[in-house]
């Protein structure tokens, strides 16, 4: 069945595709582009926006190419005058109920609605009328929601409900009054949102974005009395280049360091240094807990989206969580204590900025536990996207930058932390250290067995000091939920569990460059390890 073939004609081109292929996919295979807006491959395939309509001979009305599958002998026309007119009307209608603030919109230049408007040459709105009005929700430290820019594609809802299995947001009301909302219409700050930011990554417009805090960084950079330190997470360096037109996954570490120095940061550090501390602590904690059979499996705590999830949904399992701070927080704490003392800097005059692929870390940095003597470990978290905006604001031609190396706060990083960005990395590094602590020997390479087609759960069995340890690494909160359920029911035989909130890990975090639905890809993951 699977391999059965279907012959059809698209725009006078005969093509043969696998049965079950959608018209949209078939057209793509034939090199024909059909515009889409609500379509997000594997995540949102619902045919709501109607941009992808095509004509199929012998059918009344249009066919929805993103969901309609091909049939033998089908004759499809993707751009007849009728189709083009209907798409134009649909786009016009969407724009007629959209706050057209491109000049002051964070997504300008990377907005699927804007590029369609340009492509369709929408020079005026043909069908203007009443617009729905929404209050902007900017109460959370991580996400801003401006539904005056929402086109109701529901991609965010699918990301939250189907991919992450959270369901913090959904569509409410009917007809023209429809809108995306939360339980009781509360701020995302006050509902079960984990701040994973996957909804932002899914959104085609500026309706969802991070709470931008780069203005505060600029203020501190201008102040001669403040010692401004920046640290960057491993996920950032393999994604930042995308904001400057480079190929997905290009490693731009050295250009990034140069850019940060040019922006005026006093020191540019690698969060991997902090990761090494986290790993050391985590390894020690694991060894202790393993010896004492204390709340096993131990679960990693370096993903704040994940921590918020377990706090809200499985508080009874909190003792399983490692007590370690996430790498950038730990590093921030070290910078304001040990490093400040060593360099003779007044920690209250020190301002630590973390550049992260993550928006949950904005929330994390503001948690009460994340301060010492009234000073926050990390003063400001900005995302990869925000860093790219700072570089653009400073008029730096990123592609042309020469290379520079990170500053070294206390000698070299081991490199164990470099795999922090990808899933399984934290645990592997911690196990390596645990092996070293226990036996003084190097751990052989861990062979993770991909579970279920490699979609977010990896298991392995390792031998450390004659003991067999079962470990599992999961990314994405839907997978996390499964593992937690097992632990809750007492069915889990793992000793060590690594969990990252974002499917694919931090490289696919909610603060990373947003790729249009047309080129979304996970190829970034592969590049962090190299």
């Amino acid at each position: 069945m699977e391999n059965e073939l279907v012959n059809l004609t698209i725009d006078n081109q005969k093509i043969t595709v696998k049965k079950g292929t959608t018209i949209l996919q078939a057209a793509k295979q034939a090199g024909i582009d059909i515009p889409t807006l609500c379509f997000l491959k594997d995540i949102n395939e619902v045919g709501d926006c109607r941009m992808c309509i095509v004509e199929v001979e012998g059918r009344k009305g249009f066919a929805t190419s993103c969901i309609q599958t091909v049939e033998e002998g089908m004759v499809v026309h993707t751009h007849t005058p009728n189709v083009l007119e209907a798409r134009h009307v649909i786009l016009d209608l969407i724009i007629s109920n959209h706050a057209k603030d491109c000049l002051t919109c964070t997504r300008s230049g990377n907005c699927e609605l804007q590029s369609l408007a340009v492509k369709f040459n929408v020079l005026n709105v043909e069908f203007p009328g009443e617009m729905t009005k929404h209050k902007i929700d900017d109460l959370s430290p991580s996400i801003v929601r401006d539904f005056n820019k929402c086109i109701l594609c529901r991609r965010c809802v699918a990301a939250c409900k189907n991919v992450q299995k959270i369901g913090a947001i959904d569509c409410i009301n009917r007809g023209f009054e429809s809108c995306i909302s939360t339980v009781g219409d509360h701020s995302l700050n006050d509902v079960n949102c984990t701040f994973c930011g996957q909804c932002i990554e899914a959104c085609p417009t500026g309706a969802l974005h991070e709470k931008e805090t780069i203005d505060d960084v600029w203020v501190k950079l201008k102040d001669p009395d403040t010692y401004v330190i920046v640290q960057t997470a491993p996920g950032v360096r393999v994604a930042l280049g995308e904001e400057f037109g480079m190929e997905i996954g290009t490693n731009v570490t050295k250009k990034m360091v140069t850019a940060l120095k040019r922006l005026g940061f006093d020191k540019v550090f690698d969060t991997n240094t902090g990761a090494d501390f986290t790993i050391m602590e985590e390894a020690n904690e694991f060894v202790e807990r393993f010896k004492n059979h204390d709340h096993l499996p131990m679960i990693t705590s370096c993903s704040p989206g994940w921590v918020r999830y377990i706090e809200m949904n499985y508080p009874e399992l909190l003792p399983h969580l490692s007590t370690c701070k996430s790498p950038h927080q730990m590093f921030g704490a070290i910078l304001k204590s040990y490093y400040a003392k060593k360099e003779g800097i007044d920690p209250s005059k020190m301002y630590v900025v973390s550049v992260m692929p993550c928006i949950a870390k904005k929330f994390e940095a503001k948690r009460e536990e994340m301060q010492n003597d009234g000073l926050y470990d990390v003063d400001n978290v900005i995302t990869t996207r925000e860093l790219s905006r700072m570089i653009k604001q400073a008029n730096i031609e990123f592609e042309k930058l020469e290379d520079s190396e990170f500053d070294l706060p206390m000698g070299d990083a081991t490199g164990a932390g470099a795999i922090f960005g990808t899933t399984g990395g934290v645990m592997e590094a911690a196990l390596r250290t645990a092996q070293d602590t226990l036996t003084g020997k190097d751990l052989e390479k861990i062979d993770f067995e991909q579970v279920r087609g490699g979609d977010g759960i990896k298991r392995a069995t390792v031998n450390i000091g004659g003991k067999t340890i079962k470990v599992v690494a999961a990314s994405g909160l839907a997978n996390a939920k499964e593992i937690l359920e097992e632990i809750k029911k007492g069915k889990s035989d793992y000793q060590f569990v690594e969990i990252m909130a974002c499917p694919g890990g931090c490289v696919m975090g909610g603060g990373q460059p947003i790729k249009s639905s047309r080129i979304r890809s996970r190829s970034r993951c592969k590049k962090t390890k190299s």
Binding site: G47, F127, L152, R174, F176, S178
Partner: protein, 210 residues
């Protein structure tokens, strides 16, 4: 009644309107479909020329707009825009361009909505425009509603000849739109008049009309 019979209308909200000249059409599925209507629930409303077809189209659109589930763009926003145009026409604020826009929206919503509701939402507009286009034009261009249903366009006036200056209408007008004192002939201030029609029935001399 037959000479001023304007339309037969099957009582189905998504059915179409049929003008008087099709009075002899048999009521069966095929015949109705052939003239652009549909059987619906099989009921039938007969209207004469005191019924405004633009108002009628607006009435049906109000229903669809409130019934739209909001899933797809053409139905969610498109029917709302159609209703807004019809409201403009009925308020005497429409233009010839509005008629063109209404048609363009209707055709495209019909073809591109996901489900039957959106696909049939424009039917009442399409069929009223097909058979009663002149009425739409009167609303849009002359700003005139011959059925006198669109209040915004109707003008209530006191016939100078018939008015005896009794002032009764003045007593009844809820917004004090009628001017004049003593036995003077009364005049309606069109700026103030809300076209409620109260004065029409209050005049013992039938001096007020529209």
């Amino acid at each position: 009644m037959e000479e001023n019979l304007k339309q037969l209308k099957l009582v189905d909200l998504h059915g179409g309107c049929i003008p008087g000249e099709h009075l002899d059409t048999p009521i069966d599925y095929e015949s109705l479909k052939a003239i652009g209507s549909m059987m619906g629930s099989g009921g039938l409303i007969v209207m004469d020329d005191t019924k405004c077809m633009v108002c009628l189209a607006k009435f049906y659109l109000e229903f669809t707009v409130s019934e739209s589930c909001g899933k797809c763009t053409p139905c969610r926003i498109g029917t709302k825009r159609m209703l807004e145009i019809l409201e403009r026409l009925c308020a005497g604020e429409g233009s010839e361009l509005d008629i063109y826009k209404l048609e363009k929206l209707a055709v495209n919503i019909q073809k591109s909505s996901i489900c039957g509701l959106g696909q049939s939402a424009p039917n009442p507009v399409i069929s009223t425009m097909k058979y009663f286009r002149e009425e739409f034009r009167e609303h849009a261009i002359q700003k005139e509603c011959k059925a006198l249903e669109c209040k915004a366009m109707s003008k209530i006036i006191i016939d100078e000849e018939k008015c005896k200056g009794c002032g009764l209408c003045q007593k009844h007008c809820p917004v004090r739109a009628i001017k004049g004192e003593g036995r003077e002939k009364r005049i309606i201030d069109q700026e103030k008049c809300i076209k409620c029609g109260t004065c029409l029935t209050s005049c013992p001399f039938h001096a007020i009309g529209n």
